[in-house]
């Protein structure tokens, strides 16, 4: 890894532990050098031949009564590789007691503590290591940062990680630092860090994808596309980049290109709910509702607790005018995530089609309560009230829409058009009090698309997968004999 690596590099201790040398020469001249077989252990270790390695280490430790540093060190590494952290910690502690001035051993002890989840102790150990080490070591700073982060001290973590980044341009440091900024919501700084990271490691598809995703969050589509394209050029099978790039294409209504991206991603990750969700919405964009529904249902099957998918299912069912099914999916979505205004808006519209005006109006109210700044809600409410004959209420909601419309940037032209039509109609009807009904509701569900697309773009990494769905138990016991 660093300073001590040279010492073991070919197993032959060029200038290894002087103390033991003296001992051996003074006491028993026929005794072999204590580190005589280090080269062999090293060789087997680097070939990952852990079985032989362990036997050799056992012999060495028996010969030297457990006083062999290198053997202990390698044993610790092997044990860690096998996941036995507690035992490996003991090995490193022996190493440390044999040679207390070696920074490496302190670092390994600290690392073991970190892996055990004892972040406080690990932090102390790393601080010790930092004091002993003569030259500033990026690794120590990086790990300090990780420990601080786990202990919740973001500022200290950032400081340590910054030093780590300055000392050595390592991918891990950049990623850790950027993740802190992301946690704090400072996307701009995170982007800067990733930019530096991509410069220092231009071959990494992961880094480029992460940067692309951050750009996507910021809404800088051009930059995002560039980075994702770069990532795909390096690793054309990288599922995350493919998904993100596909989602961007989809945002620009370029459904065929998006589908081609998803097709490649599906080969490497056929069970991703996010992927099937996006494919489903692509078909929705192409107005192929049946295909869209079956893709979304597969996504729902794979991840039943995901409200995004339920929301999309509701939306597509609305488009196929199956309002009862749409209502079921949407109500499930509201159960799972009660704070999303868009879902309530859709629930309201589906209820309106199911001839339940009372509940529809409740849902409209709930939606506007949850998102008082969303202009589309009062407009839809106004259309609904108008169809119910409540012209004054409609006029009130229309007024609210117009207020909000002035604040909202980039308002969809469809909404404005609907609003003007509605206001004309309302003024006519208020004048004559008997106008004909208009069929404006199509607009309302279309206008939802704006929110919808945002929802689906997120490339989701499901952290916890919810289990086997639809598990049918052994069905149909047939009777034999």
């Amino acid at each position: 890894m660093n300073s001590s690596r040279s010492e073991y590099s070919n197993g032959i201790p060029a200038r290894s532990v002087p103390k033991s040398r003296q001992e051996t020469s003074s006491k028993a001249p026929e005794l072999n050098a204590i580190e005589g077989r280090n080269w062999l252990i090293h060789r087997h270790f680097t070939r990952k031949e852990f079985g032989i390695c362990k036997i050799l280490i056992q012999e060495e430790l028996e010969r030297t009564r457990g006083k062999q540093e290198f053997a202990n060190y390698i044993q610790g590494l092997i044990l860690r590789h096998e996941g036995k952290i507690q035992e490996s910690l003991e090995c490193f502690q022996i190493c440390h007691s044999l040679h207390p001035k070696n920074v490496d051993y302190i670092k390994q002890v600290a690392r073991s503590l970190f892996l055990l989840g004892l972040h406080n102790l690990a932090l102390e150990a790393y601080l010790d290591a930092q004091q002993i080490s003569e030259v500033p070591d990026w690794d120590i700073f990086y790990n300090l940062g990780e420990c601080w982060l786990r202990l919740g001290e973001h500022t200290k973590a950032k400081e340590s990680l910054r030093q780590a980044v300055q000392l050595g341009h390592h991918e891990r440091c950049y990623v850790a630092l950027a993740s802190i900024y992301k946690l704090e919501g400072d996307t701009q700084s995170a982007i800067e860090i990733y930019k530096a990271a991509v410069e220092s490691a231009p071959d990494s598809a992961q880094l480029a994808t992460a940067l692309g995703l951050l750009y996507l969050e910021e809404g800088k589509y051009q930059h995002a596309l560039e980075k994702l394209g770069g990532a795909l050029a390096r690793d054309p099978q990288y599922a995350q980049a493919l998904l993100a790039a596909g989602a961007m294409m989809q945002n620009h209504s370029d459904y065929d290109v998006a589908l081609s991206k998803y097709k490649i991603a599906a080969q490497s990750w056929p069970e991703s709910p996010a992927l099937w969700n996006n494919v489903g919405m692509c078909f929705y964009g192409k107005k192929k509702y049946v295909a869209s529904l079956s893709c979304l249902k597969r996504a729902h099957y794979l991840s039943p607790l995901d409200w995004d998918i339920l929301f999309n299912l509701g939306l597509v069912h609305m488009a196929t005018q199956q309002y009862a099914s749409a209502f079921h999916f949407l109500s499930a979505a509201t159960n799972l995530r009660p704070a999303h205004a868009g879902t309530f808006l859709l629930v309201a519209i589906s209820l309106r089609h199911l001839d339940d005006p009372d509940n529809a109006s409740e849902a409209f109210k709930q939606a506007s309560l949850l998102a008082p700044l969303d202009a589309s809600i009062p407009l839809n409410y106004a259309v609904f009230l108008e169809s119910q004959g409540d012209l004054d209420g409609a006029a009130l909601q229309l007024e609210r829409f117009q207020e909000l419309a002035q604040v909202t940037p980039r308002l969809s032209p469809e909404l404005v058009q609907t609003a003007t039509q509605l206001s004309k109609l309302l003024s006519n009807r208020l004048r004559s009090r008997n106008g004909s009904k208009t069929d404006e509701n199509e607009m309302s569900s279309k206008s939802k698309l704006a929110i919808e697309v945002e929802a689906q773009v997120r490339v989701r990494n499901h952290p916890v997968d919810s289990s086997p769905e639809g598990e049918t138990p052994n069905s149909m016991a047939d009777d034999e004999v």
Partner: protein, 499 residues
Amino acid sequence: MDPVYHALSLYKKRCFEECVSTCTELLDKNPFDQAVWILKMKALTEQLYVDDLEAEEEGIAEAFMDNETIAESARPGTSLKNPGTSQGGSTQGYRPWTQTGRPVSGVVRPGTQTARPGTMEQALRTPRTSKTARPSTSQSARTIRLGTASMLSEPGGPFIQLSRINLGNYASKPALAKPLFLYILYHENNIRHALQLAVLATQACEFKDWWWKVQLGKCYYSLGLMRESEQQFRSALRQHQCVETFLRLGRVYIRLDQPLSALDVCRTGLEYFPKEVTLLTEIARIFEGLNNMMMSVKYYREIVTEDSTNVEAIACIGMHHFYTDQPEMALRFYRRLLQMGLYNAELFNNLGLCCFYAQQYDMTLSCFQHALSLAKDDDVADIWYNIGLIAIGVGDTRLAGQCLRLAISSDSAHAPAYNNLGVLELRKGRLNEARAFFQAAASLAPYLFEPYFNHSALSHKMGDLQASYIVIQKALEAYPNHIPSQELLRALEKHFTVI
């Protein structure tokens, strides 16, 4: 009426007990009446006769002390032992796997319950419950029952003293030898004697009778001498082609874990007996064992065109449609089963699930109600589990939690329910409870990858990297192609292998 004629007519009417007692009376009068002796033998055999083709089960002994295996690690798609390796099969992500490490099948039959687990330890740990009737001895449970039946049979000593009988005398008389052989095999369940008789008899008829060869093959098969039995069946098939022989030869190859040869045998059989349902069923089952569902369903479809009331075929096709995103199609097949008169909890459970996924919500709950009212003890847990899934599907997490708890209360070893409860706890933010549930699920069902993955992801988040690292490796053992697990392992390896 002539008492012999009376006994014969009783035999034809399948009143075997009366037939036996009449014969006993006759034999008391004249112990050397060969006809009556044969009739009694046949009646006794018939009482205990089972279709041993369908009663096949592989014990732990066969699975492990198996010296017939050709390759330790077979090529993908050529072995029944690791169905996960075949290309294009269903994966655990879509179609859940059973305790035995293979995808759930449409019907329960002996073959679907015997596991071919990777290690002895795993096999022994698998509990022997009502759901895994896995015999630990080499002889199947059924044949053991036969043996005990013969011991009880008669108060005045056994009908035939096998140790005293001179098999050579009987072997040369074909009319006597065949019923005697069947009697020894099925009633006495004494394979060694049966084999002796068969060897002598086949010598006596100068190896010209195919029937004896088949019986020899059967004996060798139950003694575990696969290669000898293969020889006998092949030789019998050269003389005379018979469906049973094809099936038995196929079974030999399955035992040798050469499913492709078994398929070849069955296909050859189909050339002689086109569209024979038993052969088609055998082929479909082998393909299912290889996790090649497309081919399996193709053959099941052929069966349905021949025999439109074949329960196994209809159920398997329905199950296939359900797990390939076509619940509406599955619904039609299950409805067909209902029309045929099947009326049990499993069927209603499947109907309920199909209705839910086909969005016929009004039917779903009534189907599950039926299922619950019909359910026997070992099904109730599964049904509650599925109702829990429906509750999750409609977003009612409280109801889901209650249903899953009910599932656990009726079967405390229901691993998927523990896992889902863990996921629900996780949603509520109770991490420690969630972890306990995942651990419980994983210890109950090491064949499921979900609890391992969930546990590992959770530990990773909580900072316990050691646990996460160990557990994720188990998840990948259970399901090597799970992409999120692979990614998590890759992330963890950075911590563990960096020096």
